[in-house]
Each structure stands twice: as structure tokens, then as C-alpha cells.
């Protein structure tokens, strides 16, 4: 689109201004235009526009909402917060009342008026409810809060040394982040009622002024110029969160990873994947170098680039997966045993060699003599690894989330690691960066029709895209019902994103959740068993237009689940197996049965 054809918004500009702007923008390329928009936004933010903004004729929803947040161990704080919310409602204000435990910190930027009721515990610690919010606010993830007005009521017990500590910290931190105090911090002792009542009254007395003083114009934020990032030019994303989400007694280490996309201009839809450029585990690189008896500093040539062997093995070459190409190359370096195995060509033996062995296992099992260049040339290029995205961009505008199971196991008498999963889980701390790009997956997208129902089957980390699906549908206000089947080993430690599902069930964003934990009872129970058990309802959903999604393991799960779906359709649709299969095929053709299995 050419700039000259774009209709300019005339509202905030007079005739002369709009003409001058039109001239200035004429002939600019889209990239230049994007830069200009960011430049102008930056100027606007610096000039602190809201105070000068014209008085609004109508108020947008966000602008006249008072958000009341509480963190309280005993319920006293909740009581005060409820009182404030109720009285504000009586006065006709929009009110959003939430526990800090349920509040999404990323929402902060969108707030206008905030009131906090927060208690202090033990030696000056926040209440359990507020622990994570507190941590977020004091982390570097905390956004600037310019333009937000707030008030804090601190509850405490003056027989403790750090009286009202959490409230004091909160009050100061909000100010440090640029928010403006509506009124000074109020501190309550054990007999809190009187101070609390006065504080509620003060907040209410100031709210009307504030609402008229608050600009309805959404605050302009500086937009960094966004060059396009893609496979050829991956984005260097900062790690915001790297959090283990399996409990202490889990046999697995599953991570919830949040990356910042701020300034990337990257866009993704729920169901898309994120490709991650990884490095091989350093310990594995060292083991391999020493197993072949080479010097890591030896220069080698990889794709026309001269690197040390160590760097090449670490960043450029595939060493955690074995290929038949590598086996052949390696056999050529001298292992007669491997050569004869390859010549015999027994498929089972070969596939066991490829699937069950990393490069180092082959090198150790079939010793051979090779030089650095020979080793490098026998190995495939290290490819990016894709993960189903676990977040909705609509709900998390500047972020992308992944759910990563760290692969670590013992085999052939030594420890083994997956390259990508351990790169993400073990070697990237918060604040580190990793190159990524988006891989669209149009064959695994939500129905365009928000009123359509969906059934999601995602055991283990296969649940990742469904977290994005549910977030997205909640954010969009989609009316269609969402039903999730999830399974893993144990309820206690492997119920991935349990708290989020509970919240979605409560809000209605998730209509049903059926669970299968295989190791919680003597007989193993899997998602396919739950599907069969719920067959009658499931069939009704399918009949009335629901789409079915499966994500996860392709070796066993996908097939077992498909068989269960066929059984359900056959049983409750009163048809034979062949017809049920045909029905499923039809659903697939219509895009109502989509799979993301790997």
C-alpha cells in the first residue's frame, strides 16, 4: 500500500497539520512508515500526553474501571477489598475485584486506577496470595506504569518488627515504576477496621475526579522499528521465564519457557510452532572430541565457514541424532563391524542403530580413526527444533511460551541429553537470549467460527497448543465450548498447568476437563480410556459440529487415540468400524479433525 492512498485520521489534527503530514509521508516505503510510526509514538510518550488530552465525551470501558486487588492470609484484606468494590459499584463505577493470586500481571499496563489491599506476614513477607505478583513486580519484567493512579492499604501487626513491610514495598515500587499515588499509603494494625474504612472513603472520594482527569485516549507506546524476522534472520529473543512445572516427585522435568518477542514484529496464531536455534550440550561436545581423540581447536570447514572443531560440534553439526548417512560415513572410517551390519541391511538392526543411538554411542561402539575434517563432513547440519507454541499472542502480546520436556536419560552406561530441550531447560537462564522464528502450521488452527465447539486431546507436553487455544478463545470471547483431555503419569506432580485449567474451568473458558493419570492406581489409565468412557457425550459434541484436535506423541498415543475415536463413533453412531473410520476421514478432510503429532 502506498502512503499517499492511506486515509489519514483527521480527528486530532487541524486541516493544515494533516496536509503537512500527508506531504511528509508521501512516497515512503512500508518499512519507513513503520519507523515513523514508532518515532512519533516515542515522541508522544516522552511528552506525557494524557494530562493535556481533550476532555472525553464518552468514556471507554477501561478508563472508568477501578481495579481492586487484594493479597491476604486471613481474609481480613479480602473483606476490605470487597467493601471498597461494593461501595464503588454502588456509586456506579466499573469495578474489577481480584485476588492477587488470580491477577495476570501482564494486565498491569492496561490499568488506569488500582487499589491494593495487602497484608504482611512472618518476617516481612507477602501473603501467599501475593507472592508471585510481588516477585513479578520486583523483577525486571515489571513494566513502566506511567499514567496509572494507585492507592495501597497495608495490613500488619505492629508486634512484628517489619510492620506492614509488604504494603510499604508495594507502595514504593509502584511509584518507582512511574505510577502516581492517589493518596498516601495507609497502614493498619491488628485493629484495622477504622483505618480501613477511612481509606475506602478516601479512595471513593477521589475516584470521580480521576475518571474525569483520565484520558480515554489509549496511551501511545513507543514501537521499536520492526524488521521482519524469519528463518533466514531469526530473532534473538530474551528468556523471561524458565520455570520447572512438574512437582518434586515427578519423574520428568518439564519447563514452562517464556520468551520476549518485544520489538520483533513476529506474529503467530495458536497452533503454530516456534523454531529454536539450539546448541549441543557442552559436555557431550567434549565427550565426543575426546572419544575420537581430536583437538577441539582444530579448524574445520562447515558450509564455507572456517571454525574450530569444538565450535562446529557445538553450534553447527548434529550430534544428538544419528542418521544413516552418518553411519555410512563412519563405517568408511574403518569399523569393519559397522560396515558389515550396514551391508547385511537388516532393517530392525539399522533402525535400532539410528533411533536408539546418538553419535557418541556409535563412535564408542564402533571405534574408528578419523580426522577433524572427516568427522565434520560425516555429520548433518544442526537444524532448528520446533515446539508447539503454548501461548496466545492475543493474551500475551509481546511474548511466546513453550512447554518443554527436558530429555535426559542414561544409555550405554552414560548420561544422554536432548539438544534442544536441555539447551532451553538447562542452559538458558532468565535474561539469556536464544534465536527463534515462527513456523506457521495452518493445518492445526482453531475453527474460524468462534461458536464452534472444540475437543482437545493433549497428554503430556502435547497439551501446549491447547493452552494457547483456550487462552485465545477466552481472549476472543468465543462462545464455542472447549473440552480438554489431558493425561500424564501422576496427578500430584505431572498435572501440567493445573492451576490455569482450574481457573479456566471456573471462568467457563474450559467447559470440561477429563484426566487420565497412568500411575496413580494399579491399572494404567490413559486419555484413550477417558475418551471411551466419555464416548456418549463426545459423540454428541462431534455430531453437533465440534472439531477434534490431537497433539503429542506419534508413536503410540496418536494411534491409540484415533482408535478410541473410531470406537466411539462406531458405538454411539451405531455403525461398523469401517464406516466410523470413513467418518473420521471425512472430519479430517473438512478440517474438523486436526493433528499435530511428532
Amino acid at each position: 500500500m502506498r502512503a499517499s492512498t492511506a486515509p489519514l485520521l483527521t480527528l486530532p489534527l487541524d486541516g493544515g497539520q494533516s496536509e503537512r503530514l500527508r506531504q511528509a509521508l508521501a512516497g515512503l516505503t512500508p518499512d519507513q512508515l513503520q519507523w515513523v510510526s514508532g518515532y512519533a509514538a516515542g515522541l508522544a510518550a516522552a511528552a506525557s500526553v494524557p494530562a493535556q488530552a481533550a476532555a472525553p465525551s464518552t468514556l471507554s470501558d477501561g478508563a472508568n474501571t477501578l481495579t481492586v486487588l487484594y493479597g491476604s492470609q486471613t481474609g481480613n484484606g479480602k473483606g476490605v477489598a470487597e467493601r471498597l468494590a461494593a461501595r464503588a459499584k454502588e456509586k456506579g463505577f466499573g469495578v474489577s475485584l481480584q485476588s492477587l493470586a488470580d491477577y495476570k500481571p501482564s494486565q498491569l499496563k492496561r490499568e488506569v486506577l488500582l487499589s491494593f489491599v495487602i497484608s504482611t506476614h512472618g518476617e516481612g513477607e507477602p501473603p501467599d496470595d501475593a507472592e508471585l505478583f510481588h516477585e513479578y513486580l520486583f523483577s525486571k519484567k515489571a513494566p513502566t506504569l506511567a499514567g496509572i493512579r494507585y492507592s495501597v492499604l497495608a495490613l500488619g501487626d505492629s508486634s512484628y518488627i517489619n510492620f506492614c513491610q509488604t504494603g510499604r514495598e508495594l507502595d514504593q515500587r509502584l511509584a518507582d515504576l512511574g505510577a502516581l499515588r492517589l493518596q498516601p499509603l495507609a497502614e493498619c494494625d491488628v485493629d484495622y477496621e477504622e483505618v480501613a474504612d477511612r481509606w475506602v472513603g478516601d479512595v471513593l472520594a477521589r475516584v470521580p475526579d480521576l475518571i474525569s482527569a483520565t484520558s480515554p485516549v489509549p496511551q501511545l507506546r513507543a514501537v521499536t522499528v520492526a524488521p521482519r524476522f524469519d528463518k533466514n534472520r531469526p530473532f534473538h529473543a530474551e528468556v523471561l521465564v524458565n520455570q520447572k512445572i512438574t512437582g518434586r516427585h515427578s519423574s520428568k522435568d518439564v519447563r514452562h519457557i517464556e520468551l520476549s518477542l518485544e520489538g520483533s514484529g513476529l506474529h503467530y496464531e495458536p497452533g503454530d510452532a516456534l523454531a529454536v536455534i539450539v546448541r549441543n550440550p557442552p559436555a557431550l561436545v567434549q565427550q565426543l572430541i575426546s572419544a575420537v581423540g581430536l583437538d577441539g581447536a582444530t579448524p574445520v570447514d562447515v558450509a564455507g565457514e572456517s571454525l574450530s572443531l569444538e565450535t562446529a560440534l557445538s553450534e553447527k553439526l548434529e550430534i544428538t541424532a544419528t542418521s544413516t548417512g552418518f553411519l555410512k560415513a563412519w563405517a568408511a572410517y574403518g569399523s569393519g563391524e559397522l560396515k558389515s551390519l550396514l551391508e547385511q541391511g537388516d532393517r530392525a538392526v539399522l533402525s535400532e542403530l539410528v533411533d536408539g543411538h546418538q553419535v557418541i554411542d556409535i563412535v564408542r561402539r564402533f571405534p574408528a580413526t578419523v580426522d577433524a575434517a572427516g568427522l565434520a563432513s560425516s555429520l548433518r547440519k544442526l537444524g532448528a527444533r520446533s515446539y508447539s507454541i503454548a501461548s496466545s499472542q492475543r493474551a500475551n502480546p509481546d511474548e511466546v511460551h513453550l512447554t518443554v520436556a527436558a530429555v535426559r536419560y542414561d544409555a550405554f552406561g552414560s548420561e544422554h541429553w536432548g539438544a534442544a530441550s536441555t539447551h532451553l531447560a538447562d542452559r538458558l537462564g532468565e535474561g539469556d537470549r536464544v534465536f527463534v522464528y515462527v513456523e506457521p502450521n495452518s493445518r492445526f488452527h482453531l475453527p474460524a467460527d468462534d461458536s464452534a465447539d472444540i475437543v482437545m486431546i493433549g497428554p503430556g507436553t502435547g497439551v501446549a497448543p491447547f493452552r494457547a487455544f483456550v487462552e485465545e478463545r477466552a481472549e476472543r470471547g468465543a462462545q464455542g465450548r472447549n473440552w480438554l483431555f489431558f493425561g500424564d503419569r501422576t496427578f500430584g506432580s505431572d498435572f501440567l498447568y493445573q492451576l490455569e485449567w482450574q481457573r479456566h474451568l471456573k471462568s467457563g473458558a474450559l467447559a470440561r476437563l477429563d484426566l487420565a493419570f497412568s500411575r496413580d492406581q494399579s491399572e494404567k489409565v490413559y486419555v484413550q480410556d477417558r475418551i471411551r468412557a466419555q464416548g456418549k457425550d463426545l459423540y454428541e459434541w462431534i455430531r453437533s459440529g465440534a472439531s477434534i484436535y490431537i497433539c503429542g506423541d506419534s508413536k503410540h498415543m496418536a494411534g491409540d487415540v484415533e482408535q478410541a475415536l473410531v470406537d466411539v463413533i462406531a458405538l454411539h453412531g451405531n455403525t461398523g468400524a469401517a464406516e466410523a473410520k470413513a467418518r473420521l476421514k471425512e472430519l479430517r478432510r473438512d478440517g474438523r479433525y486436526q493433528r499435530d503429532v511428532y
Binding site: H121, E131, D157, S159, G247, F491, Q498, L499
Partner: protein, 572 residues
């Protein structure tokens, strides 16, 4: 005062005699917790929802709900259980709980760490041996306590029988328990002749707050009779039980920073004969049911009802409701509130062995294999087990011919060694606190043993190695281990910090007084050390530590619950 009923009252009223939505809560597979209202009702069924507080913070980060589990309390009226019941409790603890049994300060069993999906099986398992969990917690009369000593066999048997009669009489009649946990099957309990689903004593909303009752036989005050809402002090004349002095209005719980809450020792209402105890007890309970404060749970115990209205009003109400003339109290005297350890013979020649169980925790740890040892003993024992009010256990009514084999098991499993512990340790009590109790502000069971390690050395230095001093610790001010009547009382205030109370009576007849506030281990030892030294040097003959501190003016004598906080107020 606010006339709005507390939220728990709403829950009780709507619960259809304690059913609530417990059945639905148990069926909800998405959470290991019960619905919030049901967590109040489950207490009446002997079940407390808890979570592992050691994991609370990390699990929130892991986007997992708290590691919920349940504590189950089984009632043991008068603390008496059979070897078969012991073995059954051991089995349930091993299969469904965390593999330990805890004996409580109210002579009940507690199992910890039962997860929701195993809850029903655990409760059914306990009921298999005619033991139940109904009314072990909640706003009802809880486990009825009775003494475990045997020097007057017939009197003790009568007192224990009275305790069981009282327990049966005050057990809730609702059928909800059987419906929910036992699939509708009813137990052949002794009191089963009452109408199926009404509560003739409690009514629809039960009591305003928990209610505790006990019996005691002087001179031992092992059930800490003054800490009970309702107590019966046996009056023995010429070797015969002639009746009881009835006590009312004791209670330990208070809240930090709220001086209108306080621990209180019971008043003596007067003397009644054994045939009148049920009528009097019921009158006490219904008076509290009708007049207790249902608007404020921190002011709802019987002790506040009595302080607000006066003991004379209360006595008149009880006399009127029961139709029993309450006579002037008879004379009696207490000497101690502890247990008597080791072997004792009763008048009929049977043997009883009381063993020391630190903090009531029956577990196998290293060479101390209490759980395994007691399992072996229970398998060959023909008498009874008695859970003592001080979290210990008596292997009771051992026949002469069995004594030797029991003794050798006590030795084999390292149980006998426990009695080598210092006098201080043998007189110690601690509540559970972290990691499971939701109320705990500080450690208790996991900490007191090591604090005693340190204090023992100082006592030996002061020449007091064999001096029995009662030391009691709780993780919060609610007082499960009755800390306000321990000569050294430590009440959790925050992580690693305690309030120190001193000067309580050795027989539980006087409350302690706040001596230091908010102190950690170093300061606790610094505070106690000079007092031990002074006590060792200047005590009167036979004088107890608490009495000494009051006599020498180290702490004020607390004469009534209402002036428990007087000194704090004066300082403030």
C-alpha cells in the same frame, strides 16, 4: 457487636446435617482439595484439609495447586483401644497415609498425608475395626478424655466407663457420616437407637465452636482438666467413687495481638453424683448451644460465654435445664499433669507399661522402631492400649505370663531406651505445626526435640538434670499442646520466633505469663539460662520451676484468663 453470623454458621445451617457437597467434592478429579465450604464440614467427619507448606511456594511457581492431603483424626473415647484396632490403624497409616501414626494430646489417633482419592478407603478402613472419625473435630463435643493410671483399678474402670457413656451421649446423630464414607451402611455403634437423622442435642447448626470434655482422677491431672470446656474430677472417698466435681469454661486458644482472646482455666461448678453426669453435661452443652457467640468464632468458646454472663448465671441455667441440684464442690488435690512411665501393677495384679513417645509420633526412624515394635507387641498382646493425654502410650492389662515377651520386644525395637530421656523431654509436648498444619506460624514438632537437646545441657549444669519441668510448644496460639499451662510455654509467632510464657503450675492449675515476646532460639536460651541457675540455687524444698518463678517475682501470678494479658497491656 455485630449481629451477623459467622460464615461457618451459614455453612452448617445449609449443610443438611453435615452433608454439604462432600460427595461431589470427593468426585472432583481436577483438584486434590474439597470445595471451600466442605473443608469446614469435613472437620465434623474428623477430616482436616491440609497442604504441604514446605512445597507451597514452589508449587505455585510450578502452576500446580498446593500439595493437598488430609489429616484424619480417629476418636478413641477415654483413649482405650484394642490390639486389633491398633493393628488396623497401623495398616491404614501404612497403606493410605504417610506411614506414621500420631497420638494426640486428646488421646486420639491422627493420620497425616492421606490424599483425596484415598480418603474414602482410609475412613472405611478405620471403621473396619469399630473405630470412627465422626466428631473428632468440628463444632461438637470431641474425643472425651479419661486418665490412664491404674493404682485404683475399680475407680478408673468406672471413670472410663463414664467417659465412654458421655462420649456416646454427645456423639452427633446425623447419618451423613455413614452415607458419605461407608456407602450408607451403619455401624453397630452403641448409641444407634436414636432417630436416624435428627440432632436432639445439637440441632441444625451444632455448637458455636469446638467443645472439649474430660475426666480426671486426682492426684494426677494428666488430662489437664482445667483446659477443658467441660470436666469431671473424680471424688474418691474410702476407695469409692462418690461423684465428680464438674468444671466448666476452660480453653487454650487465643489469637496474637487480640487481647480480648485469652486462654482460660475452668471454674468448678459444683459436685454431682455419677448418675447425673449425662444430664448435667447435656445442660452445659445446650446452654452453650443457645447462648454461645455465633457471630465471632474467636469469641465463641464456652469460656467467653461464662465470662460474659458470669458463672452464677451459668450454674443456674445448668441446674434449670438438667433438673440436677449441683452441690458444693468436694475436696481434692492435684500434684502433676504428666504421665507415670514404665511398669506399674494395678490392684488386681495386672501390669501396665507406659512408654514415652516424643511428640506422639509413632514412626520408624533409625534404631527407634516404634511402629514396627508396637506392631509386634499388638500381635501378641491380650489386654488394651491406652493413648495417654500427654501423647504417650500405655500397654495396658498385660498378663504376668506375657510380660517377659513384651519386655524383650521393647528392648529389641529400641522402645525401652526412650525412657532414658531427660526429665524435661519426658515432660514435653509439641503440636504438629509445619509442614502440614495450615495454622502454624512457626515450627513445633520438628523443632522442639532439638531445642530440648540444648536446654538439657544447661539444666544438668544447673544441677537440675532430673528435675521434671513441663515444656510445651505450639506453632500458633491456638494451643493444641496446651502451652499456656506448661511451666515453659513456647507459642509460635513467626518463622523461628516464639512468645515465651513462664510460671504455669506443674499440675496445670495456673496459667503461665508472657515473659518474652517474639524471640528466637538464642534469646530463648539466654532468657532461660539465668532462671535455671537461680532455680537450682534458691528453690525451696520440692518447689517446682513455675511456682519458683512466681514466688520470686520473675513473672506475675496469672489468676484468671481475663488477666492473662494484663502485663502486656500495662507495658503497652
Amino acid at each position: 457487636m455485630s449481629r451477623i453470623l459467622s460464615d461457618v454458621e451459614r455453612i452448617k445451617a445449609a449443610s443438611r446435617h453435615l452433608r454439604g457437597t462432600l460427595a461431589e467434592s470427593l468426585a472432583d478429579a481436577v483438584t486434590g482439595a474439597l470445595a471451600e465450604d466442605d473443608t469446614q464440614l469435613s472437620k465434623f467427619h474428623g477430616i482436616y484439609q491440609q497442604d504441604d507448606r514446605d512445597q507451597r511456594s514452589e508449587r505455585k511457581r510450578q502452576r500446580l495447586e498446593p500439595a493437598y492431603s488430609f489429616m484424619i483424626r480417629a476418636r478413641v473415647p477415654a483413649g482405650i483401644c484394642t490390639p486389633a484396632q491398633w493393628l488396623n490403624m497401623d495398616r491404614v497409616a501404612t497403606e493410605k497415609a504417610n506411614g506414621t501414626i500420631r497420638l494426640t494430646t486428646r488421646q486420639a489417633f491422627q493420620l497425616h498425608g492421606v490424599i483425596k482419592s484415598g480418603l474414602k478407603a482410609a475412613i472405611a478402613g478405620i471403621n473396619r475395626e469399630m473405630m470412627d472419625t465422626l466428631a473428632a473435630c468440628g463444632d461438637v463435643n470431641r474425643n472425651v478424655m479419661a486418665p490412664t493410671l491404674y493404682d485404683l483399678t475399680d475407680v478408673h474402670r468406672q471413670v472410663q466407663a463414664d467417659a465412654r457413656r458421655l462420649s456416646d451421649h454427645l456423639t452427633p446423630a446425623t447419618n451423613a457420616y455413614h452415607e458419605i464414607w461407608l456407602d450408607g451402611t451403619k455401624l453397630p455403634l452403641e448409641n444407634d437407637d436414636r432417630a436416624a437423622d435428627v440432632e436432639p442435642i445439637y440441632g441444625r447448626t451444632y455448637l458455636p465452636r469446638k467443645f472439649k470434655s474430660a475426666f480426671v482422677v486426682p492426684p494426677q491431672n494428666d488430662t489437664d482438666i482445667y483446659s477443658q470446656d467441660l470436666g469431671f474430677i473424680a471424688i474418691v472417698e474410702n476407695g469409692q467413687l462418690v461423684g465428680y466435681n464438674v468444671t466448666v469454661g476452660g480453653g487454650m486458644g487465643m489469637a496474637h495481638g487480640e487481647p480480648e482472646t485469652y486462654p482460660r482455666l475452668a471454674d468448678i461448678l459444683g459436685f454431682v453424683t455419677p448418675d447425673n453426669i449425662l444430664a448435667v453435661a447435656e445442660a452445659v452443652v445446650t446452654t452453650q448451644r443457645d447462648h454461645g457467640d455465633r457471630t465471632n468464632r474467636k469469641h465463641a468458646r464456652l469460656k467467653y460465654t461464662i465470662d460474659d454472663r458470669g458463672i452464677d448465671w451459668f450454674r443456674a441455667e445448668v441446674v434449670e435445664r438438667s433438673g440436677v441440684a449441683v452441690a458444693a464442690p468436694r475436696k481434692f488435690a492435684f500434684t502433676s499433669n504428666g504421665d507415670v512411665y514404665g511398669w506399674q501393677a494395678d490392684a488386681a495384679g495386672a501390669w501396665h507399661y507406659t512408654l514415652f513417645i516424643q511428640n506422639g509420633r509413632v514412626a520408624d526412624t533409625g534404631d527407634r522402631r516404634l511402629l514396627a515394635g508396637l506392631r509386634r507387641i499388638a500381635a501378641l498382646h491380650h489386654g488394651e492400649f491406652r493413648l495417654t493425654p500427654n501423647q504417650n502410650l500405655t500397654i495396658s492389662s498385660v498378663r504376668d505370663e506375657d510380660r517377659e515377651s513384651i519386655e524383650s520386644l521393647l528392648t529389641e525395637f529400641g522402645i525401652e531406651n526412650e525412657l532414658q530421656a531427660s526429665a524435661l523431654r519426658l515432660n514435653s509436648l509439641a503440636c504438629v505445626a509445619f509442614p502440614t498444619c495450615g495454622l502454624a506460624m512457626a515450627e513445633s514438632e520438628r523443632y522442639l526435640p532439638s531445642l530440648i537437646d540444648t536446654l538439657e545441657g544447661h539444666l544438668i549444669d544447673a544441677g537440675l538434670g532430673n528435675e521434671p519441668i513441663t515444656i510445651r510448644m505450639t506453632g500458633c496460639p491456638n494451643g493444641c499442646a496446651r502451652p499456656y499451662i506448661g511451666e515453659i510455654g513456647l507459642v509460635g509467632k513467626g518463622p523461628g520466633t516464639y512468645n515465651l510464657y513462664l510460671g504455669a503450675g506443674f499440675a496445670g492449675e495456673r496459667l503461665g505469663c508472657l515473659y518474652r515476646e517474639n524471640i528466637g532460639e538464642t534469646e530463648i536460651i539466654e532468657a532461660l539460662l539465668p532462671l535455671f541457675e537461680a532455680f537450682g540455687a534458691a528453690r525451696a524444698d520440692g518447689e517446682h520451676f513455675g511456682d519458683f518463678l512466681v514466688r520470686t517475682g520473675v513473672v506475675r501470678e496469672v489468676t484468671a484468663g481475663r488477666n492473662f494479658h494484663a502485663a502486656e497491656v500495662a507495658h503497652g
